[in-house]
């Protein structure tokens, strides 16, 4: 589902060259749930961003769902992100001016051929999957952290992406809420065969995944 071959990422400024990723080779099978661990600055988020097509690698090859990424054009990447990927962030990144259901609808706004009724129906279904059907017209500010992360998950899955990318999804939550979020991710992986790649600092949550990829100084150490 996700194939990385010799991926490198170097940040260059006029004076400094920072190597973020070196020779990353990773193969994530369809329906797999893996976690990426490593100390701060080891390149975890950079790797997730490269997989999520939010960042362009300096070298190497990336393929998602058997589609090699050959052209990093704005329009193509936007379409790939919309159809193949769903993102969950540590700080939720909900739009506070929009209601819960409007937030969840966002990915569908960029998909062609969907009526507003279709979008609304699918957003409500996604909210039901994360157990938030009673909060659809609330605003993010009216929800707890755990509830906000559920909304973020609903937004990530509303377009039925094959791959979910979660950047420390439990990092801003207490352990009980973190466990609840992990259960949601596990059920999505188990029941819908969604491939999940999760960056985490928390070994307890990482242990719940099928495989742990460890990074150190931008290198893959296991």
């Amino acid at each position: 589902m996700i194939q990385l071959e010799g991926v490198e990422k170097v940040y260059r400024t006029d004076r400094i060259e920072t190597i973020a990723l070196t020779n990353i080779n990773l193969n994530v099978r369809a329906g797999e749930f893996i976690s990426i661990m490593g100390p701060s600055g080891s390149g975890k988020s950079t790797l997730l961003n490269v997989i999520g097509l939010l960042d362009v690698p300096t070298g190497g090859k990336v393929a998602l769902n058997q589609k090699p990424i050959t052209a990093y054009t704005d329009k193509y990447l936007a379409q790939m992100r919309n159809e193949e990927l769903g993102f969950i962030f540590q700080t939720f990144h909900l739009i506070n001016d929009l209601s819960v259901v409007d937030n969840v609808e966002i990915p569908l706004l960029y998909r062609k051929g969907l009526s507003s009724a279709d979008r609304r129906k699918r957003a409500l279904e996604a909210l039901e999957k994360v157990g938030l059907q009673s909060r659809v017209y609330h605003f993010p500010g009216q929800l707890s952290g755990g509830q906000q992360q559920r909304v973020a998950i609903a937004r990530a899955i509303v377009g039925n992406p094959k791959i979910l990318l979660a950047d420390e999804p439990t990092g801003n939550l207490d352990s009980q809420m973190g466990d609840e979020i992990m259960e949601v991710l596990q059920s999505l992986n188990r029941d819908h065969q969604t491939t999940v790649v999760m960056v985490t600092h928390d070994p307890r949550q990482a242990e719940k995944t099928e495989r742990i990829v460890r990074l150190f100084d931008g290198r893959q150490v296991s």
Partner: protein, 418 residues
């Protein structure tokens, strides 16, 4: 998608009340000034009921007379002698009329002081201009010839002298002379300087005849061409005649310069006309260009301001940009979203501007600063102004939107998390 954009646009407008107010104020204020300026221009230069034949009317409003050494110059309205002896029988002119500028005078009614404007005209004045008579009829060339003490007054003057009663046949005292009213016309706005007055009387009723020998004075003239196509030939003939003028005392003054103009051309001659030894020439194109440049500059200033406001307004939304990009929005889709917001803001400003313009113009009309003036919103110009505002709204939105849409999504999301 549009609904989602509009929803978030309104939320953002309400959240950033001060920015929204500044933006709306800039847009609506600009439109109001534009509308008031256009209403004035329309009022002064546009066709109206009285000057219904403007398309084939030329005038001599402003001349220059010079001394033999060309050092001394007298400019302004012309004298009766110059117009009478040199501009009659121009080819292709159907009718011509001489008249004075409106002059403030004082009358007394039962020892009560009444202030009004007086204009002296010939009989043809009423044939070229299409006044609407409420009662009676104009005086004629015969009245002018016979020095009949007759007058036409406007509705406002009738009310001052006679209340709501009929005025025709009654006598009014004007500047020490008694005139019999022969006609009453609708009020003509002050800014229409050619037809405007409160009281019109024959030129020949002047208290003395000195005006008959004046080359420069307070007379103007209008000429009704047979057709619009004859205007250039008439102008050329007038220019040619300027070389053969007979001066009362050539040692004192011996040359005259000027043009036959439309009222707009005459104004351009005074304001932006080109000058050389042969006097000033009208430059209507230059005046029009100056007006357009001023209008554009006037609209450009709030635009630059709006760009700054928009940049900071959009900068705050880096997180939203990051999220939308992560979930599939392309840069151009985001540009579209921010443009929708800007155009919406501009349109709201436009609607406010429309109502404010109406209010301001009604206020100016009611104020009496410009006697008998009635200012209206010119819908064609309003739509043009609104169109320009939308274009500037687009311009002021496109640059910041494009700049922000180029943000790397990772940087945008980091910016929001910081």
């Amino acid at each position: 998608m549009l609904k989602n954009y509009l929803k978030i646009a309104f939320k953002v407008f309400l959240r950033r009340k001060f920015f929204t107010f500044i933006s709306l104020f800039a847009i609506s204020f600009t439109l109001v000034v534009l509308m008031v300026a256009v209403a004035f221009l329309d009022h002064i230069f546009g066709p109206n009921a009285v000057e219904s034949r403007k398309d084939r009317t030329l005038g001599i409003y402003y001349m220059e007379m010079k001394t033999p050494d060309k050092r001394g110059m007298w400019n302004g309205s012309t004298g009766y002698r110059f117009l009478d002896r040199n501009t009659r029988n121009l080819p292709n002119v159907e009718k011509m009329s001489l008249f004075t500028e409106p002059k403030p005078i004082v009358s007394y009614l039962h020892s009560e002081k009444i202030q009004a404007y007086l204009k002296r005209t010939d009989g043809e004045f009423w044939e070229i201009l299409t006044f609407r008579f409420l009662e009676g009829a104009p005086y004629t060339a015969e009245d002018e010839k016979n020095r009949n003490l007759v007058a036409v007054i406007n509705d406002a003057t009738r009310k001052k002298f006679f209340g709501n009663e009929s005025a025709v046949g009654k006598t009014i005292e004007v500047d020490g002379q008694n005139f019999r009213v022969v006609g009453v016309v609708e009020n003509v706005p002050y800014l229409r300087q050619v037809p405007f007055s409160d009281i019109w009387v024959p030129i020949s009723t002047a208290k003395n005849d000195t005006y008959r020998n004046e080359m420069m004075g307070d007379f103007q003239a209008i000429y009704l061409a047979r057709s619009e196509n004859d205007l250039q030939a008439i102008r050329d003939e007038f220019k040619a005649r300027l070389n053969n003028i007979e001066f009362p005392d050539p040692k004192e003054w011996n040359s005259m310069y000027g043009e036959m103009n439309t009222y707009f051309e005459a104004l351009s001659r005074e304001l932006v006309g080109s000058r050389d030894d042969n006097g000033s020439a009208s430059r209507p194109g230059r005046l029009l260009a100056a007006m357009i440049i001023i209008a554009i500059l006037f609209m450009l200033l709030p635009t630059v301001n709006l760009i700054n406001i928009n940049v900071s307004r959009i900068m705050e939304r880096a997180g939203e940009i990051g999220v939308r990009k992560a979930f599939g929005a392309s840069s151009w889709t985001l540009v579209g979203q921010f443009i929708v917001e800007n155009v919406l803001l501009t349109l709201i400003g436009g609607v406010l501007g429309f109502f404010l313009s109406r209010f301001v113009l009604q206020f100016i009309t009611a104020s009496g600063w410009f006697p008998y003036a009635e200012f209206h919103v010119n819908y064609r110009i309003f739509l043009g102004g609104l169109g320009l505002a939308v274009i500037f709204g687009l311009l002021s939105g496109v640059y910041p939107a494009w700049k922000m849409s180029r943000l790397n999504p990772v940087q945008a999301l980091k910016g929001a998390a910081r």
